[in-house]
């Protein structure tokens, strides 16, 4: 929050020169440029790190040709180059420039594995499901966490508080893929609470997307288990954060004064305690959006849910560089955008912080 400055009282009229200077210092513009720079750095790092992974798909293919079909190295190499549409003699730095050039034009390249399929089309197909399941989970988890956290703070040191606090700590400590696997094994296979084979995928086969009740019901049905897992593993930290924030807000003078002013308890709980106590959580919320998108890979794999995490996992298995890069780019943009958003939301919620 370093670039967010405190609001100044009484803005004075500005001369044209001052306006220009203000433009240069323009908060939104500056933040935007910083965001672009961050994306550039991550894209560059991803490009090289991906290529540092042991075994690359072309070498694997070349070896396969030599071993199985008795190709000479040169023959195999030409064959591979033709198949992947690559000039294998291009040095890495040239490949890099090429890639960046494409990226600027909005071209993410094509998949190595599913030859000819544009990466952007694959992402467009998988991303919405992740955004849907993760978005709904965050909303549920955040709301639930805030409500339970406040209950814990108001009833602190009661039995309810102790039970909820312990539960929250435990849930926060268990990794999400473990919870996912436990749900799968116990609720799905052992006790058969959920028909997991029916719930596979993002929607039932033959379902027509659209704003119909049927469709909405269906996608929620298929997202139930991933959402359950995300909520279970994230709600604990919201509860604990909200509890401690509420407790410190309850000690604020303005809460005491609000009581002295004879305000109804309901109004104090919502507008005076709740609103102020939840402020710091909104920054965390935005940041966690990015991480949950990144952390969805294993959950989507466990529940066979066709989201971006599934796509990432597959592309890693096949060393499908363009797809991997594309997915990493999406995650990066998600995190950076979320941070960008967090600042605005925060300044909108808290008048003490104003954007200049």
């Amino acid at each position: 929050m370093s670039t967010v400055t405190l609001a100044r009282e009484g803005l004075t009229r500005l001369s044209p020169g001052a306006w220009l200077r203000r433009l240069a210092r323009n908060y939104v513009l500056r933040r935007f440029l910083v965001a672009l720079a961050k994306i550039y750095v991550v894209v560059t790092l991803t490009f090289f790190i991906v290529r540092l992974m042991p075994t690359n798909p072309i070498e694997a293919y070349i070896n396969e040709l030599i071993d199985q079909y008795g190709f000479t190295y040169q023959e195999a190499r030409d064959q591979a180059a033709a198949l992947f549409g690559l000039d294998l003699d291009t040095p890495l730095w040239q490949q890099y420039l090429q890639y960046m050039g494409q990226l600027i034009r909005g071209d993410l390249g094509t998949s190595y594995r599913s030859k000819g399929t544009p990466v952007s089309a694959m992402i467009a197909k998988f991303l919405p499901w992740t955004l849907f399941s993760v978005g709904v989970s965050l909303l549920i988890s955040f709301t639930l966490g805030i409500l339970l956290g406040m209950v814990m703070a108001y009833r602190r040191e009661s039995l309810l508080d102790h039970v909820l606090s312990a539960l929250a700590s435990i849930l926060t400590a268990i990794p999400n893929y473990l919870v996912g696997m436990m749900i799968l094994v116990f609720l799905g296979v052992q006790w058969k609470v959920f028909p997991i084979t029916q719930m596979r995928g993002a929607m039932s086969p033959g379902m027509k997307p659209g704003f119909t009740w049927e469709f909405i019901k269906d996608i929620f049905y298929h997202a139930t288990l991933p959402i359950m897992t995300y909520v279970l593993t994230t709600v604990g930290s919201w509860m604990l954060a909200m509890k401690s924030s509420t407790i410190s807000t309850l000690g604020e003078d303005y809460v005491m004064v609000a009581k002295a002013r004879g305000l109804p308890e309901r109004r104090i709980v919502t507008a005076y305690v709740g609103r102020n106590a939840s402020l710091p959580l909104f920054t965390q919320l935005a940041i966690s959006i990015g991480f949950v998108v990144g952390g969805s890979a294993l959950i989507e794999f466990i529940f066979v849910y066709q989201g971006i995490g599934q796509l990432l996992l597959n592309s890693i298995n096949y060393r499908d560089y363009p797809v991997m890069q594309g997915v990493f780019l999406v995650i990066t943009v998600a995190v950076i955008l979320a941070n960008f958003l967090a600042d605005f939301v925060y300044s909108w919620l808290d008048p003490r912080i104003r954007i200049q």
Partner: protein, 350 residues
């Protein structure tokens, strides 16, 4: 139900009658006796100041009147009769809903350090509206008009302040906003807890002037809690000196300043420099404030008092009337008067 008593000793000319009030806090070391048997009456329209060192129970006393003590505190005994015209109600027996209406509509408490008295995310106007609505006032136009009048009285620019968020106002402005807000519903009793601490000297001056102006124009009784003697001198009709949770002297403001009977009051007055500088040397009261968990036997002030005799250590002096308007709890008040409190000065220098 709240008890109502119209008979006997309850007097209609008093807005507040406090009888034998005891308040204590539960601490790890034991029970802190913060208020020990305080009794006094407050006449309608009168200003009574409570003065004393920090930790003498002044603020606890103020919070007890509107029942906003922290959870660790307990009112052990006592009655606080608040009179509404012809009937009197015991504040300590009020139930939740009744209490909510009593607060601010009948008794407004303006806290020390108004810096954080306002919700930082709501505009002043919204908080004014909150207050009015909580007490059944819904006519926005009327509320606005009343608030603008009050802001003018406390020398604030109504339009700007109503639109502002708390952080856009200075400390002195916030204090004045809180004072104005306190008078919004025309309470008959106002409690001011250290209204000028945390403010710079010039702002203090203007807040004092504002308070005097308000007292002249509007009808309300005022309980002033302060360690600032000059503030008490300017605003109060009567002054009560508190020590170790007890009232040790209660008299008209003139008597307290010019004829203090209790050695502790003498010390308090002499510890403050005067502008003219001719009231003699400055002193500090030797020793430290008493331990409220294990208060001294007898008179609580005896370990620090130059007039101490054996009797002081054994017997606690009651608050007795030495004249119709002057009460003091000291075995040796006559000696103190006769010497003009001279021993307080010599002991301090020794």
């Amino acid at each position: 139900m709240t008890e109502q008593r119209l008979d006997g000793h309850l007097n209609e000319e008093y807005i507040l009658q406090v009888e034998d009030l005891w308040v204590s806090y539960q601490a790890e070391r034991g029970t802190v006796k913060a208020v020990c048997g305080v009794s006094f009456n407050l006449r309608a329209g009168e200003t009574l100041a409570f003065i004393g060192e920090s930790g003498c129970g002044k603020t606890t006393l103020g919070l007890t009147f509107i029942r906003l003590l922290p959870a660790t505190a307990r009112v052990e005994r006592g009655r606080i009769w608040y009179s509404r015209g012809t009937e009197a109600v015991d504040v300590l027996a009020m139930h939740e809903q009744e209490l909510r209406h009593f607060r601010w509509r009948e008794c407004a408490m303006i806290f020390q350090g108004a810096q954080n008295a306002f919700n930082p995310v709501l505009r002043i106007w919204d908080q004014v509206l909150d207050t009015a609505r909580a007490h059944g006032e819904t006519d926005k136009k009327k509320i606005r008009q009343r608030m603008e009048e009050l802001f003018q009285l406390v020398q604030l620019e109504p339009r700007r302040v109503l639109r502002a968020y708390p952080h856009q106002l200075s400390g002195g402005m916030r204090q004045r906003v809180l004072i104005a807000l306190g008078l919004l519903l025309n309470p008959s009793l106002v409690i001011l807890d250290e209204p000028t601490t945390a403010l710079d000297i010039l702002t203090q001056r203007s807040v004092i002037d504002v308070l005097r102006g308000l007292k002249e124009r509007l009808q309300f009784s005022l309980i002033l809690i302060s360690h600032d003697l000059s503030l008490a001198a300017e605003l109060a009709d009567r002054v009560a000196t508190m020590y170790a949770g007890k009232i040790v002297e209660l008299a008209s403001v003139w008597d307290i300043y010019y004829r203090p009977h209790h050695p502790y009051t003498v010390g308090l007055i002499r510890a403050v420099p005067t502008l003219s500088g001719d009231r003699g040397r400055l002193i500090s009261i030797p020793g430290s404030p008493p331990d409220l968990i294990n208060p001294p036997t007898g008179c609580p002030f005896h370990p620090r008092c130059p007039y101490t005799t054996e009797r002081c250590q054994e017997e606690e002096p009651p608050l007795q009337a030495v004249s119709p308007t002057h009460h003091v709890a000291c075995w040796h008040w006559e000696k103190v008067i006769a010497e003009g409190g001279e021993r307080m000065l010599t002991k301090a220098e020794a």
